[in-house]
């Protein structure tokens, strides 16, 4: 024995290196597997974190930072008499000259290019100056075409396209357009911009030669309109339509109300604000007419601007209130549209001096008399930015073309610049989950419409119709699936012959493996048209199938004993399936007759006449059946497991006490297994909520808010599949779709966790019995 022990010890000693290696390997395995396991589990769970982090920037507050002040300067001594003449005081009325000591006259308008290389202004001596924005040095100077040294007292710049108008003291308006053309170097990098000032015409707005105190000018697709304020309550309007006919009209306010502001909109509509706090709205095409006068507030209107798209206009007044207005047909029966105050915004603390719209979205900036700057989004009413008292003695406000900056002019040619980081101004909780009043809608509504035909389309990002569609589809699917799946599972576990059971379960498992794209395709292309042709028959089946089952039982009970005994308990299926097939055939045969007798002229027309419901070919009925088909196997398998897991002693005790099979099933097995059935339904719910291909293929994917079973829906998941390929990486739509994905994730994860916990509890309970 001793030698043996020695040998073993020697052997071990001889193998010492190997044992060390093995032990090292073992320690390494512990480390590697633990690290790997934790890493994999963590990274799988990290999916939600990543998805949320992609959606998070939607809700990050916007950032703005002052990026310095530039002082514009004209070259010393380089000013001729013409230039000197322009140096009148900002509020001069036309006669006096101001001393020549001011560095730069007060600009009437400001503009910049999209790269923010140049800043241009229009001065009173009808000159357009281009300054380098970095340094403030004058780079180019052009006389405004066609004005020939006339004195300019008012000017306007269009939101898009840099169309500029200059109103003179003698009732004329010069029109021009500023164009920037980028020049690239050999490496395709931007080098400089080529600047051009194109003449667009000269209009004699007031034949009487009164000064044009304010001017507004719009041009699109060959049509032009110019409006000018020529007296306290009088607007001179010049219009040239597509057919080149020119018209000149004089517009007056009621009772001589004094006009404070006027603006032309895209669709050739004109609005004017008055001292009494009214806004007047005129339609210019096809003929000029006053359509609305609306009361904004007690104090005078001090700022007016159209937002992008030219449908909504924004009003600011002396009291600092800001509101958004558009015209809409309030009821279908209305003959004309009415002007409505659709949006009101956080007020400025001081009189609103200016409003400027952004060119990329429906944001706008406003300037208060106290130098405060605010940035709002017109649709979502979100206060994107507030810079209280940022620029004292501010005069003009400019939003840069890429909406990434603000330029505010101060006295003495100083320009305060701000960079703005505001990638998702249109998103608020309310815009995503609440009602929003969109242009063209009679009241605030939940709408999802992420893209439109034009660039200035108002995006509508309400997730409510999508969440509604998800719930609607899920509800119909579960209505269809639960009775079939739970009933089938109860039958399989409690009543079915064991031989059959061994075949049925794998069949249903195969059903679970059918890809949803196949179910969706059959539903969308085959079932939808079959149901459309046989709607009445399908509805009849709801009644006829149970009836045919009952009839089967009655017939069976009348059969002679000898025959009925052939069928062992648990083999009822062989009688039922043919009976049901017969019932289905009967319903299809009866359908046309019922339709002809009760639903005249046919079901669809009857439906729209009686209930004002439309019938879509790909509707919720189809989705309910198809998605029900997809969730049946899950609910079936889990509830069957739950039923089968009920300890057989319970059932045996019940049967021994004289209860029938059915009584045992419903009073003993079902209550005991009910938490399992509940968790099965929850898991089925989770699957239906996330199902994508079936809804994508079997509905029309229109986001509607309507419970009708005869029209379709758009679900969160299908919406993601449809829109994410088109969504720009990092854009608002992209992030909103990530938010939708996070919602889906959270919804299914929570539901599944609850179901799983219930199941585990149940398992423990059974173990205890």
């Amino acid at each position: 024995m001793a030698t043996n022990a020695l040998t073993v010890r020697e052997l071990i000693a001889a193998q010492g290196d190997r044992i060390k290696r093995v032990k090292r390997l073992d320690r390494f395995a512990v480390f590697f597997i633990s690290l790997g396991g934790i890493g994999i589990v963590a990274s799988v769970l990290g999916i939600l974190v990543f998805i949320l982090s992609e959606a998070w920037p939607l809700f990050r507050p916007s950032q703005a930072a002052a990026s310095g002040t530039v002082t514009l300067s004209l070259p010393a001594g380089g000013l001729g008499a013409e230039e000197l003449r322009s140096r009148r005081s900002p509020h001069g009325t036309g006669a006096g000259f101001t001393p020549a000591s001011e560095p730069v006259g007060q600009p009437l308008i400001l503009g910049t290019d999209e790269y923010q290389l140049y800043l241009y202004d229009l001065t009173r001596n009808a000159e357009v100056h281009f300054f380098r924005l970095e340094t403030g040095q004058l780079a180019h100077s052009f006389p405004f075409p066609g004005l020939g040294g006339a004195e300019v007292i008012s000017a306007s710049r269009s939101l898009l396209g840099d169309f500029v108008a200059a109103g003179t003291t003698d009732g004329r308006v010069g029109l021009g357009q500023i164009r920037f053309r980028p020049k690239y170097d050999a490496n395709q990098r931007l080098e400089d911009l080529e600047i051009e000032l194109r003449e667009r015409g000269l209009v004699t707005l007031d034949p009487a030669g009164r000064p044009v105190r304010q001017v507004s000018y719009r041009e699109d697709s060959g049509r032009k309109a110019v409006a000018g304020l020529v007296a306290d309550d009088e607007i001179a309007l010049w219009h040239r339509g597509e057919d080149e006919t020119e018209t000149q009209t004089t517009l007056r306010t009621r009772d001589g109300e004094k006009i404070t502001e006027l603006r032309l909109g895209r669709v050739d509509a004109l609005v004017a604000g008055t001292e009494k706090g009214n806004v007047y709205h005129w339609e210019i095409e096809p003929e000029t007419r006053l359509t609305d006068v609306a009361w904004v507030g007690a104090s005078p209107v001090t700022a007016l601007e159209w937002s992008l798209g030219g449908t909504t206009f924004l009003v600011g007044n002396q009291a600092g209130e800001l509101s958004g207005w558009f015209r809409v047909r309030l009821c279908d029966e209305d003959a004309d549209k009415a002007l409505v105050k659709a949006h009101s915004f956080t007020a400025q603390g001081a009189p609103v001096r200016a409003i400027t719209a952004a060119t990329r979205d429906r944001s706008f900036a406003s300037l208060g008399a106290d130098g405060g700057v605010m940035l709002h989004h017109a649709t979502s009413e979100r206060l994107v930015l507030a810079l209280p008292g940022a620029v004292p003695d501010a005069e003009l406000l400019l939003v840069t073309p890429k909406s990434d900056g603000l330029i505010v002019s101060q006295a003495g040619g100083r320009m305060a610049r701000f960079t703005v980081s505001n990638p998702h101004p249109e998103v608020t909780w309310n815009a995503l989950f609440g009602k929003v009043w969109y242009e063209g809608y009679a009241k605030p509504e939940y709408v999802w419409q992420s893209t439109g035909a034009t660039d200035d389309f108002e995006t509508k990002f309400s997730l409510v119709p999508l969440a509604f569609g998800t719930l609607k589809g899920t509800l119909y699917a579960l209505l269809f699936a639960i009775p079939i799946a739970v009933g089938g599972a109860l039958y399989t576990s409690q009543f079915m012959h064991p031989n059959l059971k061994a075949r049925v379960k794998p069949t249903v498992e195969i059903m679970a493996a059918l890809p949803s794209v196949v179910i969706g395709f059959i539903a969308g292309l085959w079932l939808a048209s079959v149901i459309e042709r046989n709607v009445v028959a399908v509805l009849l089946m709801l009644v006829i199938l149970p009836l045919s089952g009952t009839a089967g039982i009655l017939v069976w009970n009348r059969l002679p004993q000898r025959l009925s005994q052939q069928l062992k308990p648990g083999m009822e299926l062989f009688v039922l399936v043919p009976m049901m097939a017969l019932g289905a055939w009967f319903a299809v045969a009866l359908g046309p007759w019922v339709e002809a007798s009760f639903f005249t002229p046919d079901f669809k027309l009857w439906l729209s006449a009686t209930f004002a419901l439309t019938y879509d070919q790909r509707n919720s009925l189809v989705v309910g059946i198809a998605m029900g088909f997809a969730v049946i196997p899950i609910i079936f398998t889990i509830s069957e497991d739950a039923f089968s897991a009920v300890p057989s002693s319970l059932g045996a005790a019940s049967l021994a006490l004289g209860a029938s099979r059915w009584q045992t099933a419903t009073r003993v097995v079902l209550p005991t297994a009910s938490p399992g059935v509940f968790s099965a339904v929850m898991i089925g719910f989770g699957r239906a909520v996330g199902e994508t291909m079936i809804v994508l293929m079997a509905t029309g994917n229109t986001p509607v808010l309507d419970w009708s079973i005869f029209n379709g829906m758009r679900t969160l998941s299908a919406n993601i599949a449809v829109e994410i390929p088109e969504a720009h990486h990092g854009g608002t739509l992209y992030r909103i779709l990530f938010l939708a994905a996070a919602l889906l994730f959270a919804m299914t994860f929570v539901v599944n966790t609850i179901a799983e916990v219930i199941r585990q509890r149940l398992r423990e309970k059974y173990r205890a019995i």
């Binding site: 990543f50 195969i510 059918l514 395709f521 399936v577 099979r661 419903t666 898991i683 994508t692 990530f738």
Partner: protein, 544 residues
């Protein structure tokens, strides 16, 4: 009235629950039946019918279906029938299918000289051959054409194969090399721009290779032109039922048969050759004709890649959770969470794949390794690698759960025996536990594969396309191209069924594609079930 005993016992209710199960089984049978009847019958050559209508017009076509005509509100509602004919001849008529009211039909016959011609463009041609010409010279006329045409059609097939060989292998390779040089040039330019100085020598080298390849291209093109000119000398003219004539190159004829003259054996041969074509050929005519080989290939390839990624990670995580982690509340919570991840909608994984793999990882790879190509992305766009990774993530929970169950099923006594002989824990796991658990892990893998093969939604946004010009695996270095987009059976079903310009003509294709997808999935599932049963039996006998 007293209810019968059976009713009081609740037997009718049992029947009701039974009928629920019956509905369920009927639905499965119905779905499979619909797919099979619509899909299998499509390739069977049917007889052609020529109908003459009251207005004298004549149509030759394959009868597709017969339907009662709905005229709601009139006594004639569903009284009369109409038939749908597949006419082919889209280039002559402008449509493929026509509904004909049976009341309008004066006569029907099955002309013996009616031929069904499958050709390169415009779908099938239905008509009778009139004349066969070689150049300007008439070779055969009328009934003699068929005999003369048969060898020419066989020759056309050989010619097409030769042309394809030149195009794919020869010209394809040249294009590949030129494309490589184009990228190399871009890389040179990029490096020059980055301040690497002038790289004149490399530039010249690239230009030299391009010139060389272009010369080779010219030679190949000449060879191709020669084959083409040689192959395209014979023309055959067909006359449609309405008298319109159409001249076809014999080279463009894929298959031709006298539809009303064939016996069962002849039909079966055509059926088999059509199925073979469907499985092995590329799609034609915006996926409505030809085969689905790239889709089958893409599906299988994607599933394999996915499994290669999912299994090691899934098993590793399961090993940790089952063998190494301290069993407690934390592990229970993690287990539930992992279990529930299997229930998270696949589209969510797709969104994650797009944001993380495609834009974040792929975009990063492009920044570092392929900056010369930007803004055109190399990896920063959907591709088979990203799609497989996404699906691997989707199926990893399935593998983890199955592997954990398999590990738990290994009897404790086996581990103890191994430890008692002095093996370390890792040795025990490697040599005892994992082999015993392997069948269970395999079941998990197969379930994961079945799920992965059927998923479409996440693929749609991470790399599947309706038509991929190149397979992700080919003969050019590095042979496997993980950045390429690919085709997939499931997406093919969606695309052809719902996005196709000619849904009616494409429908049967969709059903047949469905059969293939179902075959793959059912095969995978059946394997899983068989493996699981074997495994159970094995452990029932070997349990202590």
């Amino acid at each position: 009235m007293k209810l019968p005993l059976s009713v009081r016992r609740g037997d009718p209710m049992i029947w009701f629950t039974g009928s629920a199960l019956g509905t369920c089984l009927l639905m499965i049978a119905g779905l499979i039946g619909i797919v099979l009847t619509n899909g299998l019958g499509f390739f069977w050559p049917k007889s052609l019918v020529e109908v003459t209508l009251k207005d004298g017009s004549r149509f030759l076509g394959e009868p597709i279906q017969r339907q009662a005509i709905p005229k709601p509100g009139t006594p004639e509602h569903l009284e009369h029938y109409r038939i749908q004919l597949k006419l082919g001849n889209r280039d002559l008529l402008g449509y493929d299918f026509k509904w004909i009211d049976e009341a309008d039909i004066v006569s029907r016959r099955q002309p013996t000289d009616a031929f069904y011609v499958e050709r390169r463009e415009y779908g099938p041609l239905l008509g009778s051959p009139v004349v066969l010409k070689e150049g300007e010279q008439v070779v055969a006329e009328g009934a003699a054409v068929w005999a003369a045409l048969q060898p020419l059609v066989a020759k056309a097939e050989r010619d097409r194969a030769a042309i394809e060989r030149i195009e794919k292998d020869g010209i394809g390779e040249i294009n590949f090399r030129i494309e490589q040089q184009r990228l190399a040039l871009k890389r040179i330019e990029y490096r020059e721009k980055q301040g690497g100085g002038k790289l004149g020598a490399e530039r010249a080298e690239a230009a030299r290779i391009v010139a060389e390849q272009e010369e080779r291209y010219r030679v190949k093109q000449e060879a191709l032109d020669k084959v083409l000119a040689d192959a395209a000398t014979t023309y055959v003219t067909f006359r449609a039922a309405d008298g319109a004539e159409k001249e076809l190159r014999t080279l463009d004829i894929f298959r031709i048969y006298p539809a009303n003259e064939l016996g069962v054996a002849g039909r079966a041969a055509i059926y088999a050759s059509r199925i073979w074509e469907f499985m092995s050929a590329d799609p034609r005519e915006s996926n409505t004709e030809g085969g689905i080989f790239p889709a089958i290939f893409g599906t299988v390839m994607m599933v394999i890649l996915m499994s290669l990624l999912a299994v090691p990670f899934g098993v590793l995580a399961a090993l940790y959770l089952r063998e190494y982690a301290k069993q407690g509340l934390a592990v229970r919570v993690v287990r539930i969470a992992v279990n529930n991840l299997a229930g998270v909608p696949s589209i969510v994984f797709g969104v994650f794949g797009l944001g993380f793999f495609v834009y974040f990882v792929g975009g990063g790879i492009d920044q570092v390794f392929f900056p010369e190509g930007l803004p055109t992305p190399t990896y920063g766009t959907g591709g088979i690698l990203w799609a497989s990774l996404t699906l691997a993530l989707l199926t990893v929970p399935v593998v983890i759960v199955a592997s954990e169950e398999a590990l738990a099923a290994v009897p404790r006594s086996m581990r103890e025996a191994s430890i008692a002989t002095g093996a370390t824990k890792f040795q025990t796991i490697l040599h005892v536990v994992l082999p015993a658990a392997a069948p269970g892990i395999l079941t998990g893998l197969i379930l994961a594969m079945a799920r992965g093969a059927g998923e479409v939604a996440p693929l749609m946004i991470t790399g599947v396309v309706k038509l991929a010009p190149e397979l992700p695996l080919d003969g050019f270095f590095p042979f496997f191209h993980p950045d390429r987009k690919f085709m997939h059976l499931g997406f093919h079903i969606y695309d052809v069924g719902f996005q196709s310009p000619n849904v009616e003509a494409a429908m049967p294709m969709v059903y047949t594609t469905t059969i293939f997808l179902l075959l793959i999935i059912v095969a995978l599932n059946l394997t899983a079930i068989v493996v699981r049963n074997r495994l159970r039996r094995k452990y029932q006998t070997s349990a202590f």
